[in-house]
């Protein structure tokens, strides 16, 4: 029996050295963003590759105010919370019915959700824009929340159903004998033991909705209603020359994302790659 080490593609010390070098190169853009965001403009222009002469933490405050980040972060948070809430409730209800209940047309409805996984947003963007224009929803937060919820549902339903399918039916049988209703079984028995999948669905839906660029870019032109992604786009085009402030704004947005990622790494990786693996 050989030790586990020798099965790696390169000898151990060499492999670790190679991986560390690769990672330093790979993550250098992010490191550079953090370093440069704390430099003064003149210092940065002199040598974009250098270290700060002194730390200019006032960059962050200035970027925060200039880009009105507080306001746009709140809008993003509102959009994300409402969308995630809707996706979690609607997808768990639908997945429960697909997995544990029987009714006419069930398989057809389940198959219907796959069109949402196959069609690119571009297939219905024009139709959706006109639909929203007619309904008077353009330039409202609904014009982003509604499509983001609908777009997140198919994958969330797929993941939830796959999870519910693994739960033993004996769980419900005894509850049913004691007179529990279908909804009570869903709410008091199925959901409490499914927190793992619910956390996965919540985290990756939240990340996707928070990061969304195309929909608010198309639907929301009112400056005040823009989420953080499209408001930063406007900020970066307006203040092209304020390089260090721009990088400071990016740093402010990136840092909480990294924290969320390192806390929920497993769920986020699972959610983001599940779209591919379940197809």
């Amino acid at each position: 029996m050989r030790s586990k080490r020798e099965e790696t593609i390169l000898p151990h010390p060499l492999l670790i050295a190679l991986l560390v070098i690769l990672l330093v190169i790979y993550l250098f853009p992010i490191l550079w963003m953090y370093i440069s965001s704390a430099r003064s403009m003149s210092d940065f222009v002199n040598n974009p590759l250098g270290l700060p002469d002194s730390l200019h933490f006032e960059n962050y405050r200035q970027a925060f105010e200039m880009a009105n980040l507080g306001h746009h972060l709140l809008i993003s948070a509102f959009i994300t919370i409402i969308s995630v809430l809707c996706v979690t409730v609607l997808s768990s209800l639908a997945a429960y019915s697909f997995s544990r209940l029987t009714y006419a047309g069930k398989n057809l409805l389940y198959a219907f959700f796959f069109i949402g996984l196959i069609l690119p947003v571009q297939s219905f963007l024009v139709g959706m824009f006109i639909e929203f224009k007619v309904l008077g929803l353009l330039n409202t937060l609904s014009s982003v929340i509604l499509p983001l919820t609908a777009l997140s549902l198919p994958l969330a339903i797929l993941l939830m159903k796959a999870y519910f399918d693994t739960l033993p039916s004996s769980l419900e049988d005894s509850a049913r004998i004691e007179g529990a209703s279908t909804f009570q079984i869903f709410y008091y028995i199925i959901m409490p033991i499914s927190t793992a999948i619910v956390v996965t669905v919540i985290t990756f839906t939240a990340v996707n909705v928070w990061n969304e660029f195309l929909l608010p870019f198309v639907m929301i032109q009112t400056e005040n209603l823009k989420p953080i992604t499209t408001s930063l786009y406007v900020f970066s085009t307006k203040h092209s020359a304020q390089l260090t402030l721009k990088l400071a704004a990016l740093t402010i947005i990136a840092t909480p994302m990294f924290i969320v990622y390192f806390v929920f790494q497993k769920q986020i990786q699972e959610g983001i790659t599940a779209g591919a693996l379940k197809e």
């Binding site: 571009q122 963007l125 024009v126 959706m128 006109i130 639909e131 990016l250 990136a254 983001i272 591919a276």
Partner: protein, 287 residues
């Protein structure tokens, strides 16, 4: 299993949302592509004019070429790099640390990635040119022709190499230990084990990745819009940015819808072709 047709109510809210926001708008877009428009007013129906116009549109042709280049580059920079990275950490203890870090750029919103890399590629004062000049080279306009597509593709590779690494790693970790151990006893080197035994076993995942990259290559909008902005020279125009330009800047709904449908047809066609190839390859191997 309980049977009661009223249970459909559990699925109904989700069905209604997907119908109203995905299915119906898709049908509208199909109809719009055969409709005559005066800005936002319908003036006639049943025209093939928009599709005829698409056939002669040089910018559309340019966008197609760019999309194909993007797909070609990202197959190497995303899937190829993902295979190499997965191979490097395969069978490595604590590989989760490396996988987690290579995956981490994907967590960033595209606006952060796009603005950051625009700054890295900037012709004057950009990080890349600063390094090149320090090494004695000449500054290059990375976001202009002929470098535009490779520059954007590199950012895409930077984002997604860790994603494909994670997909391949999850496949590799499911391969039974006995297969690998017997190969090692037979004297195979770890490199031979990876390329000759393990990679063929995750062939399905590699095919799936090619499918994701090829169809994804026609959907990418954010990086192109954020890094190239209005792109007046059209040096990096692709189908999704062309669509947004035609629809939202020129307010040409009919033609925009036709471009939508062409894009949809291409994506669906690629899915069908790749799944047919996958099936054919699978059948050959059964003999």
């Amino acid at each position: 299993m309980q049977k009661n047709n009223w249970y459909i109510l559990y699925a109904l809210p989700a069905v209604i949302l997907v119908t109203a926001l995905i299915a119906l708008p898709t049908i509208f877009t199909v109809l719009f592509s055969f409709t005559e428009w005066q800005r936002f007013n319908i003036t006639g129906f049943g025209t093939l004019r928009h599709y005829a116009r698409a056939l002669k549109d040089l910018t559309l042709g340019k966008a197609f070429v760019h999309n194909f280049l993007y797909i070609l580059f990202t197959i190497f920079l995303e899937v190829g790099a993902g295979l190499i990275l997965a191979g490097l950490v395969n069978h490595l203890k604590h590989s989760i640390v490396y996988r987690g870090l290579f995956f981490s750029p994907l967590i960033l919103p595209s606006i952060v990635v796009g603005v950051l890399w625009r700054q890295i590629y900037a012709a004057e004062g950009g990080l890349l040119n600063t390094i090149i000049i320090a090494l004695g080279g000449k500054a290059v306009s990375w976001l202009d022709q002929p470098y535009t597509m490779i520059s954007v593709s590199i950012v895409s590779g930077w984002l997604f190499a860790g994603y494909f690494m994670t997909i391949f790693y999850s496949g590799l970790s499911r391969i039974s230990r006995s297969v690998i151990e017997s190969a090692i006893i037979d004297g195979a080197t770890p490199f031979q084990v990876y390329t000759k035994i393990e990679l063929p076993l995750i062939k399905n995942l590699i095919m799936l990745s090619l499918l994701i990259v090829t169809t994804g290559g026609f959907k990418g909008f954010d990086l192109f819009q954020i890094m190239l902005r209005r792109d007046p020279m059209e040096s990096g125009i692709v189908l999704p940015t062309l669509l947004v330009r035609i629809f939202f800047e020129n307010q040409d709904i009919g033609y925009g819808s036709a471009i939508s449908m062409i894009l949809t047809a291409v994506v669906v066609l690629i899915m069908v072709i790749i799944s047919l190839i996958n099936k054919a390859v699978g059948e050959v191997e059964e003999y």
